[in-house]
Symmetry: C2
Subunit: 193 residues, 2 copies
Amino acid sequence: MTSNLGYALLGLLARSASTGYDLTRRMQRPLGWFWTAAHSQVYPELARLEADGLVQHEVIEGAGPRPTKRFRLTRTGRAQLRRWAAEPAARPPERDPLMLKVWSMWLLDRDAAVALVEATRAEHAARLEVYAGQSLALLQHPEPLADPATPQFAAWATLRAGQGYEQHRVAWCDWLLEELRRDRGSADPPHHD
Amino acid sequence: MTSNLGYALLGLLARSASTGYDLTRRMQRPLGWFWTAAHSQVYPELARLEADGLVQHEVIEGAGPRPTKRFRLTRTGRAQLRRWAAEPAARPPERDPLMLKVWSMWLLDRDAAVALVEATRAEHAARLEVYAGQSLALLQHPEPLADPATPQFAAWATLRAGQGYEQHRVAWCDWLLEELRRDRGSADPPHHD
DNA sequence: ATCACCATGTAAGCTGTTACATGATTAA
DNA sequence: TTAATCATGTAACAGCTTACATGGTGAT
């Protein structure tokens, strides 16, 4: 019954115990490259995980107006995380807002289409640079990257996937720009409103 | 105020007028490769679009127990679709269940990890074949593919993106499998529960 | 003095999924 | 006669986003 968000939190807690606040921060990067959550989602989910016996908290001294809780994985939680990680992942229903726009791109004149694709390309290229920095940081300690049983290896694998994705998007943008620019004949859109 | 789903429907109606039922079917393929919706979402959305003056319906003869409605784009709807298509697309918060599993893959023994990645690779390779078939179908009429002002060109561009994406995923799986298999020393997972 | 950071929660609203509901026509 | 297809809707629920709410400590 545990949700994807729940497993994201378990995955963070398997690395180290944290407060809800800290988990929210750790969700931003690098986990946030492929799964995000706001704190308003994190706190109720932690309560659910605790009700299911997958995590436990102890109250520690902290700065907030309410008691500060440090959560850690239980043995049950760790076992369930392992079981879930081994099951094949369900393909998510892809929802790509850019492709939705491209789907209706035939209504645009060439300049508008080119501008859209160029803006997209720039965003993906920028993300690639962020990943390159992250990559350098990981390569500072290359030993664990060779061992699939380390969390560093897992982070490395997801980063590689992110880089591959961005490279594919940049290449696609370049292809599309070439196609759009090759077309010199029909600069007019099909209908003007 | 129109949602992505609304623009998906407008994008379909810009190609041809349809009933809600037919729009639901047309959402499956090829639009469904990057945006899906169930009929329970389509009907209320069509009502909203009509309230906003972006689509209009006429009642036609049909098979259902209720009046059958054929929807078409209004001039306002077409103009709004064009405006929206030209604006840069917001990057969606990426949510990739596979990467979530990979993030916790360091808890698995090598065989389980390999099995997971192999299953993933097979799925992406299968999708590539589907796209290849779609590609052949589009290439039966190659003329409009050279003209960015045709809906065929737009469909072609999204298909190209889909192919690039699947290729990148397959390549990433192959890289990861190699990494996992190269590691012969630490076949044991870090903790057994 | 004001802002950022630590820290935890609730509430309202939107999007999307699954299930419920109806009923005619056509093909196996 | 049984199932698939055409055809349209509602309801319940899950997940996520945005906003509301509180209050202490340390830096500028």
